[in-house]
């Protein structure tokens, strides 16, 4: 007996595979995670029922999922846009913190009516996040310094800066506990009527729409795609790769910065150290899963939000550790990479018996 595995590079990716990849990825990850659930003596079917069906069928769960989606989609776009241009912004978390700091500061220190204050704070947060991301963008554009390293390391700087500020200059309202003062009502997103989700959700949707139009309908978007696909050819045609690189980081960082302020203004009310449960890092698999379009980033963000929310429900109902959600997330990433492999190669597994002289397939052709 002889088992042979044949790998062949695909010439074409069949349509069902191209579109099905995200679905298979998610299903595969959940299937693998059920191993962990079984090991914890939890029935996976019931557990996933709790996690997804129950979360999605009650208003509270839906509202929570929508709320969680906001920072994930905005930071997801912050990764997605540079990814279109072939760059990795892995520092969305830091840009989110910078946006939260500046947005909160404006909310606390500027007195204006809500209609002016919130846009101003959103703008400030966007500028802060954009500039923070602009540093790695500029370094990459100008001196070809690896943006993965700089954007990642600047994240830790940003987190420490925020941590210092809420213990020092910006501390207030809570005695000795680190944290800023509570934002005034004029700086807090009002809830959207009926849906009862804070208005930052609309900001997220707007950002998705703006990104979709930018990428698919404008010259800048054309240039971003071209630079992302072949920067040398783009340069040869007179596009400035440096400008594209800087642009995607500035705009991406602005989205992440806005995500930071949205989270403070719409959910938490005051800036605390370590307020983000790694939204900016979860943004990376969000962007990978949704890399074919801004709307897909939104879907991916909603899925990861559902994992967050459903995961905590699971924790409460079955007493499984919250880390399980991390496991599922990690498996999604692994499955995604695996799916890429299958997209590129077709795999044939053939089992044939050892000493058969005639070829297994086709006509024997042993006429000679």
């Amino acid at each position: 007996m002889n088992v042979s595995v044949d790998l062949e590079a695909r010439e074409d990716v069949p349509a069902w595979l191209a579109y099905g990849t995200p679905v298979f990825t998610v299903v595969g990850a959940l299937a693998l995670s059920s191993v962990a659930l079984v090991a914890l003596s939890v029935d996976p079917v019931a557990a996933y029922g709790t996690m997804f069906v129950e979360t999605l069928t009650n208003p509270f769960g839906l509202r929570q999922t929508a709320t969680r989606t906001v920072p994930l989609v905005l930071t997801g776009l912050a990764v997605y846009l540079p990814l279109r241009a072939g760059l990795w912004n892995v520092g969305a978390e830091g840009q989110l913190y910078m946006g939260a700091v500046v947005g909160t500061w404006i909310g606390l220190n500027v007195s204006l009516p809500m209609a002016a204050l919130i846009p101003l704070a959103v703008l400030g947060a966007g500028v802060a996040g954009g500039l923070w991301a602009g540093i790695p963008g500029y370094l990459r554009a100008k001196w070809d310094i690896n943006e993965i390293i700089t954007s990642l390391l600047l994240t830790f700087v940003a987190i420490q800066v925020a941590s210092y500020l809420v213990r020092g200059p910006m501390q207030g309202g809570l005695g000795n506990i680190p944290g800023s003062a509570q934002l005034p009502a004029a700086a807090e997103f009002p809830p959207i009527p009926v849906l009862d989700v804070h208005a930052g959700f609309l900001v997220g949707l707007l950002a998705v729409a703006a990104t979709a139009v930018l990428v698919a309908r404008t010259r800048v978007g054309f240039e971003i795609s071209f630079v992302g696909s072949n920067p040398l050819a783009a340069a040869q045609a007179g596009m400035s790769t440096a400008r594209v690189y800087l642009f995607v980081f500035l705009v991406g960082g602005a989205f992440a910065g806005i995500a930071g302020f949205n989270e403070i203004s719409g959910v938490q009310g005051r800036l605390r150290p370590a307020f983000s449960p790694d939204y900016g890092f979860t943004a990376i698999p969000v962007a990978l899963l949704g890399r074919n379009g801004a709307v897909r980033v939104l879907l991916a963000a909603a899925f990861f939000a559902l994992l967050f929310v459903g995961g905590s429900r699971l924790e409460v109902s079955y007493g499984v550790p919250a880390a399980l959600v991390d496991v599922i997330q990690a498996l999604v990433i692994l499955c995604l990479i695996t799916a890429e492999f299958f997209k590129r190669y077709s795999v044939d597994v053939a089992v044939e018996r050892g000493s058969d002289p005639a070829p297994a397939d086709g006509e024997p052709g042993g006429a000679a």
């Binding site: 010439e11 010259r219 795609s225 072949n230 040869q236 007179g238 070829p359």
Partner: protein
């Protein structure tokens, strides 16, 4: 068919989804012959050879080698049966030495475990292991599996190389070798494995003419020793120069096998493309107009910061094609990039259509009427994963005809792309928005790129190797397109290593050597031998002083000095062109 061919492939069929790559192909090779396998891109040459080399399973047909039926599952099987293949892209590890690369993959155990058998006289110092261990079968099996001996064989490889007359320093790291030498290492790898049949996949694609000539010598020597060689090519000149017989494939089928001596190139070309191919293009007289390019004193550095252009003056007039001949690596790439505005010159000035563009960004060149066909269509010419539409519209993207308010008018882009696809006969595009440029064959992709550059009616076209690596049919089309554009008043700088192309298309011909223009002539007045010599920096033989007169004094001196050293030094002589090479060989033997 032959009475007793060494290799016989009959009725080979290989299908891919939607394509029959080989349809009932018959192919046979005699012992000790050089057999050309000729065909356009996509004719099925590579597929056939991959079947032979065990990379593909045929869907039908049979392969016999030396009278025995072959049934290969992998290249390892092929190697075991004495079939070797030299791929177009070398499979070498730059940091390892030549000898290490040659033995790599042979699963030689490390030195101490090696059972030297008969030749115990070779350096035995490292076999400190007792004889019993070395000959123990279990120990040997383990050693073969878990140790690797890259060290011991340098002497052996050297002997092998000497035996075949390869002068390669077997201890040098492969990374330090030039392309021609690396190819010899690949051949050496095959010889080390005792091949009887050697497949070379378009071996000259990466070589300079001189290196190619040297390769041919090597191949003839191998054939004289009884090794059969299959030489895959789509260049007719090579097929007629080196092979004994030629088999032509077209669209996956065998067109026929002929004795090379009995046919001429035109006949082979007809077999290849299935129709008459024009070899002499109709070149109408075009009265040159105003200068479109005026460049003077251009200096530029290559990517490593070493000066590659040392003061080039160049002027091209409307409706004129100026050919630049030279052996690759003499500054052509830098010249093309400087003229296209992609690379900043370190000195000198460039004006296009009377406008000084020195130091301007690439965009000013593109918008100022400069079109550029880069040497490497995949690296520079296109974004392979983006659609034909994206690639077709690349240069005219900023034109306001594509405005749709603040947005980009994608429908207009698609129409624009379709026009180029139609006009330039780009095949394999059913929907310009859907088909990625990378899915096009080399010739069609090149038509798309040239079309994109020409359809905008440029003042200046900089074309670097516009027909390299494409099939005969496409070459003809591309050359005619360039000539048509000349009639429209475009001035062209044509940089090529193909002398036929330069002689057919150019109005004036310049020779570049080590970053300087060393010779200027016209195709009518030119002497090929002399052009070949000038390309290699030589002013060899009788014409030394005389040929110095037609270039400026400084470069003539330089050319003569270089020529002198080339004569004196065998190592330098290798780098010489066909003409020089032939004469120096004559001297040394």
């Amino acid at each position: 068919m032959d009475e007793d061919p060494f290799l016989r492939m009959s009725g080979v069929r290989k299908e891919f989804p939607g394509v029959v790559a080989n349809d009932d192909v018959d192919f046979s090779v005699r012992r000790g012959e050089i057999h050309g396998l000729l065909g356009e891109n996509g004719a099925g040459k590579s597929t056939l050879m991959k079947v032979l080399y065990g990379l593909y399973d045929a869907d039908g047909g049979s392969v016999h080698l030396g009278g025995e039926r072959l049934d290969l599952d992998s290249p390892q099987d092929a190697i075991d049966r004495g079939i070797g293949m030299v791929h177009q892209h070398f499979k070498l590890i730059p940091r390892l030495s030549v000898a290490e690369n040659v033995v790599l993959g042979e699963r030689e155990p490390a030195g101490p475990f090696r059972d030297r058998g008969a030749d115990t006289d070779t350096d035995d110092a490292d076999s400190w292991l007792p004889e019993a261990v070395r000959t123990n079968r279990l120990a040997r099996a383990l050693a073969e599996r878990f140790t690797i001996g890259l060290d011991a064989s340098a002497g052996e490889i050297e002997a092998l190389a000497d035996d075949y007359g390869f002068d390669v320093d077997v201890r040098a790291p492969v990374g330090d070798l030039d392309v021609g030498e690396r190819q010899r290492v690949e051949i050496l790898k095959a010889l080390y494995r005792d091949v009887d049949l050697l497949i070379l996949d378009e071996p000259t694609a990466v070589l300079t003419p001189a290196e190619a000539e040297r390769l041919f010598e090597t191949l003839r020597a191998l054939a004289d020793r009884g090794i059969s060689i299959i030489f895959i090519t789509h260049k007719l000149t090579e097929a007629t120069a080196i092979t004994d017989r030629v088999t032509v494939l077209r669209e996956g089928e065998t067109v026929g096998t002929v004795e090379t001596g009995s046919v001429d190139q035109a006949e082979l070309a007809r077999m290849m493309v299935g129709r008459e191919v024009l070899f002499s293009l109709d070149k109408d007289r075009v009265e040159p107009g105003e200068p479109v390019l005026e460049a003077s004193g251009l200096r530029a550095e290559d990517d490593r910061g070493i000066e590659a252009l040392s003061g080039i003056d160049l002027s091209v007039r409307a409706g004129e094609i100026v050919g630049i001949a030279g052996v690759s690596g003499n500054g052509q790439r830098e010249l093309a990039e400087v003229l296209a505005g992609v690379r900043d010159p370190t000195a000198g000035s460039i004006a296009v259509g009377g406008r000084d563009l020195t130091g301007e960004p690439t965009r000013a060149f593109v918008d100022g009427g400069v079109s550029f066909v880069p040497e490497d269509r995949h690296e520079y010419g296109c974004a392979a994963e983006l659609s034909v539409m994206h690639n077709a519209a690349l240069k005219e993207l900023r034109d306001d005809r594509f405005d749709d308010g603040p947005f980009l008018d994608y429908d207009e882009l698609a129409r624009y792309a379709e026009e180029i696809v139609d006009e330039f006969d780009v095949r394999g595009v059913h929907d310009v928005r859907e088909v990625p440029a990378g899915d096009l064959s080399g010739g069609n992709l090149q038509k798309l790129i040239l079309g994109r550059e020409l359809v905008r009616d440029p003042d200046l076209l900089v074309a670097h190797q516009p027909t390299r690596g494409v099939d005969v049919g496409a070459i003809e089309f591309l050359r005619e397109a360039i000539l048509d554009q000349r009639a429209e008043g475009t001035g062209t700088v044509l940089i090529s290593e193909d002398l036929d192309e330069l002689f057919d298309l150019s109005d004036r011909l310049l020779v570049i050597y080590e970053g300087e223009i060393v010779h200027e002539t016209t195709p009518e007045a030119a002497d090929r031998e002399r052009v070949g010599m000038r390309m290699t920096g030589g002013a060899v033989g009788d014409g030394g002083a005389e040929s110095g007169a037609d270039a400026d004094g400084e470069s003539a001196d330089r050319a003569m000095t270089d020529g002198g050293s080339a004569d004196g030094d065998g190592g330098e002589g290798e780098a010489a062109g066909p003409g020089a090479d032939r004469s120096s060989r004559g001297d040394s033997r």
